[in-house]
């Protein structure tokens, strides 16, 4: 029976707190790798060995918790995206003690909802299609099972994580390195475009267990024969809706073709466009589907487009303001500069409006949004600050002054989460440059965006004009309420 490890090498330093949500303050560029602390090499416990019992009922193995270097407790208020859990503990997943140490030393105390759903299924080897917001512990949801399943006795690439941006690759690799520091030498490598290819090639001459990469770079390394992924047992696609967009999908298909037939694929995505569904059907085996999104839906929203030139947009907006019965409206632009220009123009037209954009301080943005929500102003001009849909009941009109680039943004701007009986109107100002986008978004979201009619039925978006259903009308008539 192997001796349980209770010592932590003196050279282990406290790490910056990460919970899979916050971005690290500073990052190294280029390749990353974890290394065994100098001096003593940790002895891995025998697989499946039990912990010896000692007198008094105190398990000998529990001593390791007292040696943890825990970061300060995170006391920030958190939303139900990370607190609405079933009450699992990380220990429930039968993880290696060394991995548990890494998890706790990152300040992760209990699994978040997406981690609760993902980790045990991923450990069981099932393919997963998970829908979750960013910032809800998604990285931990796939990294914990990924690191748990790495076999240090094998000196080849066993897992890859594909992400759409260099920043995300660096962030995920940093979390991996921090989490695996007690695991006795897991080698994690990040490789992205924009860095020296030669450095990556040299790095791959050494042992690498996990690669975290953007698609273009890793495909390049695979095709050069430098990165051998023929024994990869787990492939993760984070932000899969972006990875499977037109820019990347060909690269992804190519990478998949180099993986072994028997592999596990985990897909994490905030939206489920057609491209993700197609990929799932083609490459995933009986995927376990997880959906933690309050379903943003376009149900009840009437969507129109107006085909205009760029110069006609302000005039068109003025016409909409004068003809529509707006309770409150949100007007989206695609850049901070355009938000400010448009807000100024709207004021000149004689309408009241607030505006917020990403370059404003968070505290100020919160205050403006709060005031708008409380009805202090009728119109709000903004960029895409929100990642969970806008649930202000009073907003009955959303105007895409600038048309969004992708389906996810469109859904977040216009969609409402799971509320019945809340009708609304969405109007898209479309220029010739947007017309292909319009078609693509319609297809991906399986929705219908019609040309704007000369007059719009108020019952579609004004509360007082919502039609009563036939039974209600009859009942109301009988009581003499209708005259």
């Amino acid at each position: 029976m192997a001796t349980a490890r209770t010592e932590i090498p003196a050279s282990v330093m406290p790490v910056t707190k990460q919970n899979g949500q916050a971005k690290p303050m500073s990052l190294q560029t280029g390749s990353f790798s974890s290394s065994t602390p100098s001096g003593k090499t940790p002895v891995m416990p025998q697989k499946g060995s039990s912990i010896p019992q000692s007198s008094g009922g105190i398990r000998f193995g529990d001593d390791w918790k007292k040696c943890l270097q825990l970061p300060p407790k995170d006391t920030r208020v958190r939303t139900t995206d990370v607190t609405a859990t079933k009450g699992n503990e990380f220990e429930d997943y039968c993880l290696k003690r060394e991995l548990l140490m890494g998890i706790f030393e990152m300040g992760w105390e209990k699994p978040s909802p997406i981690q609760e759903e993902s980790i045990p299924i991923a450990l069981s080897g099932r393919d997963i299609l998970a829908r979750a917001k960013n910032g809800t512990g998604k990285s931990g949801a796939y990294l914990i099972p990924l690191l748990e399943r790495i076999d240090l006795k094998k000196d080849y690439i066993q897992a890859i994580v594909l992400v759409p941006t260099r920043e995300l690759a660096l962030q995920v690799s940093q979390i991996s390195i921090n989490m695996s520091k007690h695991l006795g030498g897991i080698k994690v490598m990040a490789t992205t475009g924009g860095t020296n290819l030669r450095d990556d090639i040299m790095r791959l001459d050494e042992i690498v267990h996990v690669i975290i990469a953007t698609p273009g770079r890793i495909l390049d390394l695979i095709k050069k024969g430098v990165a051998k992924v023929d024994k990869v047992q787990m492939a993760v696609m984070d932000e899969a809706d972006k990875l499977l967009s037109q820019d990347f999908v060909v690269l992804i298909e190519d990478i998949i073709s180099f993986l072994p037939k028997k592999r596990q694929i985990l897909l994490y995505s905030a939206t489920f466009p057609i491209s993700v569904q197609k990929f799932m059907t083609k490459h995933l085996q009986k995927p376990y589907e997880i959906n933690l999104m309050d379903e943003l839906t376009l149900k009840g929203i009437t969507q129109y487009y107006a085909y205009v030139t760029e110069r006609q947009k302000v005039h068109c907006l003025n016409t909409l303001f004068s003809r529509l019965q707006i309770n409150q409206s949100i007007i989206f632009c695609n850049s901070t500069q355009r938000v400010e220009l448009l807000a100024k123009k709207i004021t000149q037209l004689g309408y009241s409006c607030f505006y917020i954009h990403a370059k404003m301080m968070q505290e100020y943005r919160n205050r403006v949004f709060h005031d708008f929500r409380n009805g202090l102003c009728r119109n709000l001009v903004c960029t895409d600050l929100f990642t969970r849909g806008i649930d202000i009941q009073a907003v009955n009109v959303v105007i895409n002054f600038d048309f969004p680039k992708n389906a996810e943004t469109y859904l977040h701007r216009i969609g409402r989460s799971g509320r019945y009986g809340h009708l609304g109107l969405a109007i898209n100002l479309i220029t010739s440059e947007d017309r292909f986008n319009l078609k693509g978004i319609e297809d991906q979201l399986m929705t219908d965006i019609k040309p704007i009619p000369s007059s719009i039925d108020k019952s579609l978006y004004v509360a007082e004009f919502h039609s009563m259903n036939p039974d209600e009308e009859e009942a109301a008539h009988k009581t003499g309420e209708l005259n």
Binding site: G48, S50, I51, Q53, G56, G57, R59, V77, K86, N88, D92, Y93, C94, E116, I119, P120, I121, L123, S124, G125, R126, R149, Q264, Y288, D294, Q393, S417, G418, R419, Y420, G421, H422
Partner: protein, 196 residues
């Protein structure tokens, strides 16, 4: 004050305090009141202590001996929050399935050990069900009575090895709990002997 008469009602948004016939004091904001059934709904601070949550309590005024209006609200109450009906329906269906699954195990004569193991597995892996006296996990692994590690059968792979780890850990935890209880009992005896 006495219970309200036919024409009287508690205003939504008012704060009231009730003394039940069991001597329990309940205080909170009125959410709804139904005179015919004498049911009062109060929103109280959450028992879990979380500031963003509330307890909602239904009170039958027939069993209340004393009602005090702390703060009567006269303005028009705000509109009721929208409910995500489909989410609530899903939640109700899930809870019902869980209870039916537990009831099935009892009626099928499954041992207590088997029932406890099922709950442990179900805690982390929801794709878990009974088939007569066998536990079926993810349609891949079958655990037969008497539900030990060696009774886990299925296609070799990650699912089987992970389930075996859960089963092994479950019985290890159960055993350590028993040891702890025994130890506490002994401690109690020592304390008794000291006092005598």
């Amino acid at each position: 004050m006495a219970a309200p008469g036919p024409g009287e009602y508690f205003s939504v948004g008012s704060h009231v305090s009730c003394l039940t016939c069991l001597g329990q004091r309940l205080q909170g904001e009125v959410v709804a009141f139904d005179y015919p059934s004498k049911m009062l709904t109060l929103k109280c601070p959450s028992s879990s202590g979380k500031p963003n949550l509330s307890d909602v309590i239904l009170i039958n005024l027939a069993y209340v001996s004393e009602v005090d209006i702390i703060n009567d609200r006269t303005e028009t109450p705000p509109p009721l929050a929208s409910l995500n009906i489909s989410k609530l329906a899903n939640r109700a269906r899930t809870e019902k399935e869980d209870k039916l699954s537990q009831a099935y195990a009892i009626s099928a004569g499954v041992s207590i050990e088997g029932q406890q193991l099922f709950q442990t597995i179900h805690k982390t892996i929801k794709d878990c069900k009974w088939q007569e006296k066998n536990i079926i996990v993810m349609d891949d692994v079958v655990i037969s009575p008497p539900y030990q590690v060696e009774n886990c059968k299925g296609k070799e792979g990650s699912a089987l090895s992970h389930i075996r780890k859960i089963v092994e850990k479950h019985f290890r935890d159960v055993e350590s709990q028993k040891t702890m209880q025994r130890s506490q009992a002994q401690q109690t005896q020592k304390d008794s002997s000291l006092s005598s």
